[in-house]
């Protein structure tokens, strides 16, 4: 992209519309501070990027202060402020770019009259990849953070797409996770739980390891092998076979140990039997106490109170002769509540009788204690018996072998029921007798305590035999049950295997998600690596160029810039002094840092593949000493021109501007003076020739209807011819023009052409023809037009001179 003209209206320092002719090989704008030079640079910057670095940095400091600063303070035009450029694109095609400023400080961009969003078709995208070298930004790069420096330099080197790519991929990873479908989220969650559960199963741990390493095919194969090992051969459906196994294992789950019994080798020695003798003792004691008192009282009263004795007999409806066993005064063994009640009544009248009753009562109560102890002992030896579900499982596991055990279990259970019932009877009877002895209340029960105890003893005495039978059968059955038992661990193993097979789709979907996320991470790493490698490649040549530019500006220096050291995402600038390496930013002087900045920007702006042919340089040597300035004038600019760059130089230094114009006049440098800044904008005046500029002015004015413009075109044609002769002489011979030719016209200076070896003598007639044409229309002394040439005449001479200029451009150094 090469700029040919720039029109600015209402933007920054420009109020009224002005068009700057930039067609010459080098255009110099010289003017004091505040004359509007920087506005030209900013106009180009804003046109290309829609913003300026100065404003971008300013907004960071204070949006309020910088707000509205694009628009000229005096601009009152109804149309929006704008910057427009005529240019040749990369293919050499003439194009127009226009940017209009909107009130909200955004802008409308048009290319050839059509609204566009960006200038990517011109290769223009990133603010830091720019054709602008502005004095106030020279050190920006140096005083950036290394990471920002890395990104900016990458952009300046054309590696910005890779940085953008990396940023986009990183952001895409987050975006991907946020937008993950519900099914995938569910799969991830299930996978996490499944893997955690599988990890509890040693046989499945290798499967987990394979899953976590992303080797799902191998994991599935291993899982299949585990599953096959859990089922019998010959299944049609592995999953169904596993479910059948699981069901079978669940049925074979039994707490067999809970049902075991201590084997009682000898019933006589068993505590439960031993305690039975205590019951007998209690009964004997009760009988003894009551019988002794009754016998004593009977002996005394039988003689003295026969009627009373008879009363007892009648009251109880008992007769000695008929029912001696119920007679309280008989030495009978019977201990029914009724008889005890009669005895109590008979004995209660004497102190001795009362004492006997109390003793009997104590024994009855002791009977309760003995019963409790008896039951406790019984519980100790009676095993836990299987419930109905356990009985079913025992049959499931041991089949027919379980019947003997189950029969002994049933027999034991039945005996326990019998014992339990006897205990209840005994307890009730004990309670009744206790009540009789305490209060004399006659209970309904007519059981004999001695008989009940005897029955209870008989039932309990055989209990150990039942327990032993149970235990013996338990021992016999034990191996068969243990062989068929399934532990909860067995069931869990099958259950986990089934879960893994059933949820394998979740594992696969979750793995796809993980693959994507890992790919994002890997891709970012790849881009980093690739960028770093490319950057090193670019730097290998670019840093050499930077050093060359720096050396050009610093021919002799003991302290010098030493190059860049790129890292993964940063970039260090190094300096060197007497073989000692150090960081550049803190150790070089401001002037040296300006040179480093200038060298970096020059290297980047002139990089191979840059979309820009125009380079705008704003006061680059402002803070440099004379040596650096001379190097800039004589070497840097010449190198840029040699490399085919079109230069726009902005400077406040009159001497520099004059020297540069003089140095490069023969190569088409044109000098403009900016002065008398007013509210309407900068006053820009053309001060020095440029052959291209002269012909461009002819082209611009030759077809004008306004005669004044055509007069100007005529004058420019004449100036072109005379300037051409002088420039050709200097370029061809390498000699300066002698002072005697200063101010001389065609007639005097045409002799110079004879010394030009490259000059085709046939062209002299063309030059003379144009001179003669212009003489007819110019005042002889003042060279002012005296008659007005028409457009056709002007056009034919314009074409002739354009051909001359084209023909001799190689000699002139264009």
């Amino acid at each position: 992209m090469r700029l040919k003209s720039l029109s600015i209206c209402g933007f920054r320092g420009f109020n009224d519309a002005q068009t700057l002719d930039l067609s010459d090989t080098m255009v110099i704008f010289e003017g004091p501070n505040g004359s509007g030079k920087t506005s030209i640079g900013e106009a180009v910057e804003w046109l290309l990027y829609g913003r300026t670095l100065k404003r971008t940095k300013g907004d960071d400091l204070s949006k309020r202060e910088y707000s509205g600063c694009y628009k000229n303070a005096h601009y009152i035009g109804s149309a929006p402020p704008y910057v427009e450029a005529e240019l040749d694109d990369r293919a050499g095609k003439a194009r127009k770019i226009l940017r209009e400023l909107k009130t909200d400080e955004t802008s409308v961009l048009k290319v050839d009259g059509s609204v566009v969003q960006d200038l990517k078709e011109f290769g223009i995208d990133h603010l830091h990849d720019r054709p602008l070298i502005l004095q106030h930004t020279l050190q920006d790069f140096i005083f950036m953070k290394p990471k920002a420096r890395y990104e900016v330099l990458s952009a300046m080197m054309g590696l910005e797409p890779l940085i953008a790519l990396r940023t986009a991929v990183e952001a895409a990873k987050t975006e991907f996770s946020k937008r993950l479908p519900q099914r995938a989220v569910q799969a991830q969650s299930r996978r996490t739980l499944l893997v955690a559960d599988m990890r509890q199963e040693p046989v499945l741990v290798p499967v987990v390891t394979l899953i976590e390493s992303g080797r799902l095919a191998a994991a599935k194969q291993h899982l299949g092998q585990v599953a096959q090992g859990l089922v019998s051969p010959g299944y049609a459906d592995l999953l169904q076979a596993l479910k059948t196994v699981k069901s079978s294992k669940e049925r074979a789950q039994l707490d067999w140990g809970r049902l075991s019994a201590a084997v009682i080798s000898s019933p006589a020695e068993a505590p439960v039997v031993k305690l039975l003798s205590r019951l007998d003792a209690r009964v004997s004691k009760i009988r003894e106490h009551l019988a002794a008192a009754a016998a004593e009282q009977q002996g005394s009263q039988r003689e003295h109170e026969p009627q009373r004795r008879q009363f007892y007999h009648l009251g109880l409806r008992l007769l000695d002769s008929v029912h001696p066993e119920h007679c309280p005064f008989c030495a009978a063994d019977s201990l029914t509540p009724q008889r005890i009640a009669a005895l109590r009544e008979a004995l209660a009248e004497t102190p001795e009788g009362l004492a006997a009753i109390q003793k009997a009562l104590a024994e009855v109560r002791g009977l309760t204690t003995d019963l409790v102890a008896q039951v406790a002992e019984q519980k100790k030896v009676v095993p836990n018996q299987p419930d109905d579900a356990e009985v079913r499982k025992i049959r499931d596991i041991a089949a027919g072998a379980a019947e003997a055990f189950l029969e002994s279990n049933k027999a034991l259970g039945d005996q326990l029921v019998i014992c339990g019932e006897s205990i209840e009877v005994l307890k009730n009877l004990q309670t009744a007798i206790e009540g009789v002895l305490s209060s004399g209340e006659l209970p309904k029960s007519s059981d004999d305590l001695a008989q009940v105890v005897g029955r209870y003893k008989a039932e309990i005495s055989v209990l150990p035999a039942f327990i032993n039978g149970y235990a013996a059968n338990y021992s016999v059955l034990d191996p068969a049950i243990k062989a068929g038992l399934a532990s909860s661990a067995d069931v869990k193993k099958v259950e986990r295997t089934i879960a893994a097979l059933e949820q394998w789709k979740d594992v696969r979907i979750a793995q796809v998600c993980r693959d994507v996320e890992r790919s994002f991470t890997d891709l970012v790493g790849d881009i980093r690596t690739f960028t770093e490698r490319k950057q090193k490649q670019v730097l290998a040549t670019r840093d050499k160029e930077i050093k060359n530019w720096y050396a050009m500006l610093n021919p002799i220096s003991d302290v010098a810039y030493d190059g860049m050291v790129p890292g993964t995402d940063n970039l260090e600038l190094r300096a060197r002094t007497y073989a000692k390496t150090m960081f550049a930013a803190p150790n070089l002087s401001m002037s040296q840092l300006n040179c480093v900045g200038l060298a970096i920007y020059l290297a980047c702006a002139t990089r191979k593949g840059t979309p820009f042919n125009t380079l705008l340089i704003d006061d680059p040597v402002q803070s440099m000493d004379d040596e650096h300035t001379e190097a800039f004038k004589k070497q840097v600019i010449e190198k840029l021109l040699d490399d085919g760059f079109h230069i726009i130089l902005l400077t406040h230094m009159q001497l520099l501007a004059g020297d540069v114009e003089a140095l490069y006049r023969r190569r088409g440098a044109a000098l403009y003076k900016m002065s008398q800044y007013s509210r309407s904008g900068p006053a820009i005046e053309w001060k020095g020739p440029g052959l291209g500029r002269l012909l461009e002015m002819v082209r611009t004015h030759k077809d004008a209807t306004n005669e004044e413009y055509r007069k100007t075109a005529t004058l420019n044609l004449r100036m072109f011819v005379e300037q051409f002769v002088k420039e050709l002489y200097k370029a061809d011979t390498g000699n300066p023009i002698s002072r005697k030719y200063e101010g001389k016209s065609w007639g005097e200076i045409r002799s110079l052409l004879k010394s030009c070896k490259s000059f085709d003598i046939n062209d002299e007639a063309k030059l003379e023809d144009t001179c003669n044409f212009t003489s007819k229309h110019l005042h002889p002394d003042e060279r002012m037009p005296r008659s007005v040439a028409n457009s056709a005449q002007l056009n034919s001479h314009y074409i002739a001179m354009s051909e001359i200029l084209t023909k001799y451009k190689p000699v002139l150094g264009f």
């Binding site: 290769g123 979907i509 994507v516 994002f520």
Partner: protein
Amino acid sequence: MNAEEDLIHEMRGEVEDKWRGALTDAYMKVPTAEAIATKALEILSEETDAIEKS
């Protein structure tokens, strides 16, 4: 193909992994996070459907 596309193309040439290759398809010219994420989600959806149907 301009210089920027050349770079991306070259970068993509080094990426052989299936997923990363698929992701790089999304940004041959305009690298936006949304475009890449959308591409990734499309492929995820296709693979999920295939797994569900298998």
